[in-house]
């Protein structure tokens, strides 16, 4: 075992930090705050001219898509180097990684043509995907989804509704899971389509989140103020939009979700408040009172810090598994339980360290750090719900990891 970074990786981290110190000017931050959709886990931050310019410079350094093959616009580099770059940028609220982009699944399951078409533009940021999984009646039990895609010659005709399609109003494409066969068990009749958002028949309607009015400051866990519902009304797409084989979409999607979770973004959304609260109590007082002197608070801070280290180490373990070929049994699911729940514990504990100041939202007089701790309380639990809830993840740890048997389940309505 080796818990250290190589000298080259350390040098890369220094380079990225120096780049950020030089290029992340107050003007860039202002633009990000103005245009922010809140920091989720994907690349959904709308890009104004300064941020677009910044991304171009990041690309010129060779820091986008490091671990992707050169032929698809990547750098043929190692995954850990990509992680380091992702981590440094994520700490300043810039998502350079490809988590949530759909790229890992396309690389794993796409045709040669799809890989050449999508991946370079996903890396550069020219393309971005909204994720079309959840439906009004299909959340945790995603395989019950009802959005239909019916084959007609060389096309599919799609009808249905998707929920929480967060980036749908800015994305160029949607990664759509739809039912292509209703006569087989529910997991066996699902396919995935890579659908351009400008296809006729697609309607996007905003869903406002509890982070709206006032909007969460940058860096908030699930600080997005808007998500969407997306309607498909006789949407006709070419057969070439199919990712993987017809009716094999469940496997493709699960694999893609697993790959999408690995990386810095998911880890950091669960631990940034741990750093923030330590750094805050070191430097601030309420009048004459410093929470840093309270033994109960000190004990809690240390407890949370240890848990945050476990988040980091579980992420590093997942990275190690990826570097060894990506053969996860339960480790990814375990990380997806531990880290979000830790994020919630931290957010809640901080409310009890700040007391009444913990209520103050962004823009309020006397708000602590722009109200990020209050906004985080509203967002943190979302990371335990999205991308597979912690309950579903625990099922996976128990069944795949520990070999416990599947039990009787209440039978749901047939789609």
């Amino acid at each position: 075992m080796d818990f250290g970074y190589s000298p080259q990786q350390e040098a890369l981290r220094r380079d990225v930090r120096a780049f950020i110190a030089e290029h992340l000017t107050p003007e860039v931050v202002d633009e990000m705050e103005g245009a922010s959709e809140g920091f989720g886990v994907g690349r959904s931050i709308a890009r104004g001219p300064l941020v677009s310019q910044l991304f171009k410079k990041i690309g010129e350094r060779g820091w986008l898509g490091i671990s992707y093959p050169k032929e698809y616009g990547g750098q043929d580099g190692d995954r850990m180097s990509q992680y380091i770059v992702e981590e440094e940028f994520a700490r300043v609220n810039i998502a350079v990684g490809l988590a949530g982009s759909g790229a890992p699944a396309i690389l794993a399951a796409g045709t040669e043509e799809q890989k050449r078409y999508f991946i370079p533009k996903l890396i550069s940021g020219e393309f971005s995907f909204a994720l079309g999984f959840t439906e009004p009646q299909a959340g945790a039990d995603l395989a019950s989804l009802q959005c239909r895609a019916v084959r007609e010659g060389d096309e599919y005709v799609i009808n249905g509704q998707k929920m929480y399609t967060s980036a749908a109003h800015t994305a160029t494409h949607i990664y759509l899971m739809a039912r292509t066969n209703v006569d087989v068990p529910k997991h066996q009749g699902i396919s995935i389509f890579l659908v351009p958002m400008d296809t006729p028949g697609i309607t996007v309607r905003p869903l406002w989140t509890i982070q709206n009015q006032p909007r969460a400051p940058l860096g908030t866990t699930y600080g997005a103020y808007r998500t969407n519902e997306t309607f498909f009304d006789d949407v006709r797409v070419s057969r070439t939009t199919l990712l993987g084989a017809e009716n094999q979409g469940w496997g493709v999607g699960s694999m893609g979700l697993n790959l999408d979770r690995v990386g810095a973004a998911r880890y950091l959304i669960s631990v940034r408040r741990d750093e923030d609260i330590v750094n805050w109590v070191k430097e601030h007082r309420f009048g004459g009172y410093s929470p840093a002197d309270d033994p109960a608070i000190r004990d809690k801070i240390a407890e949370l810090w240890i848990e945050a280290q476990v988040c980091r180490l579980m992420t590093m373990r997942s990275m190690s598994i990826v570097e060894h070929g990506g053969n996860f049994t339960y480790e990814g699911s375990a990380e997806k339980v531990w880290s979000p729940e830790h994020g919630v514990r931290t957010s809640e504990a901080i409310t009890q360290m700040l007391g009444p100041y913990g209520q103050l939202l962004n823009g309020s007089p006397r708000a602590v750090e722009k109200g990020i701790f209050a906004h985080n309380l509203m967002g943190a639990f979302q990371s335990g719900i999205n991308h597979g809830s912690v309950q579903v993840m625990r099922d996976q740890v128990a069944r795949r990891g520990l070999g416990l048997p599947s039990g009787r389940r209440p039978s749901g309505p047939r789609q």
Partner: protein, 393 residues
Amino acid sequence: MDLLLTDEEKMLRHTAREFLEAECPTTLVREMETDAKGYPPLLWRKVAELGWQGMALPEKYGGQDLPLVYVGLILQEAGRALVPLPLHSTVAAALTIASEGTEAQRQAVLPAVAGGESVLTWAFTEEDPRFLSETIRTHAVGDGEHFVINGRKLFVDNFVAADQCLVACRTAPASQGLGGLSLFLVDTASPGLSQIPLVTLAKDKQSEVVFDNVRVSRSSLIGPLHHGGPIIERMLERATVLLCAQMLGATRKDAEMAIEYAKYRVAFGQPIGAFQSIQHLCADMIMWIDGGELLTYEALWKMDQGLRASVEVSQAKAFCNEKCEAVVRLSQMVHGGIGFMMEFDLHLWFRRVSAWTMRLGTSFEHRARIAHALIDSPGRVILGRSVPVEAEA
């Protein structure tokens, strides 16, 4: 960065596990609970042939010069099997002699340890049980070529089995920090030395040790006079992280027993392991053990690189104390009434893991150390970067 075990590390673990499965049935564990010395000397010599006692000792003293991580892997297996051997106390003391002793001291002690002919232990804690140097009142006073030790030590592990004991003594008044402490290597058969056995949850061999004008020669001083504090601190850190490894090995086995039990115990027409309420308990158990293991391995790895690992050790112990206790309690829960029965083996693990959570620093003490490192020094903290560490306050 590669957190997975190498093939060599896996092989070491596998070999140790196979050996202990053959050599250490639970009947032996039970038998040694009432044995006067608490361990079978024959098995002690057998594991010496495998090189366990000398694993991280220098080759010139019969050791193998392997990293501390390997010792951690062995202690995990020792914990898994609950092997009744004084391995933890011996290794912790021997490593201190190897790193801090004089050439003569090393020659005198280490080959016998590596050869399985000697058992060591160490004595730190006194009546005030806190994990702090200022609690040390046992004092050693110079008298010509000798020191005379008077005082009482508590919770001394394997004292009845040990040939020699490292004893933390006060040789100068407690002033700031670690000042005034010295470490002595004391023969357990010395005149004036006596022990009172303690009856423990683990039914292991711990003693209250009484020093009544115990004379030791000046050559038994390990490290510098009055400034033994940092040496003692490092010894306790190593002992702590190795105890974490031992706890985790035992806890994982305990959890595995619950998981296996849940697969065949039927209630309401199906194995209880098919109920999500049980599945989710089991998932948490494994997640916590993994977390403790990652923290422990990182601390061991840092020590192997020669880096300070005080914070990492405290992270591991505070986490293991609470999570290992929770795991063995949940395992009892999954087992139901049978786990409460003396004839069923589960309590062998439950009692030991619980006892180990109470030794070498409580969760509160370790968290206080972490909080001190995080909060009381200037500069911003970043997860994954070293936290500034000062000497103990």
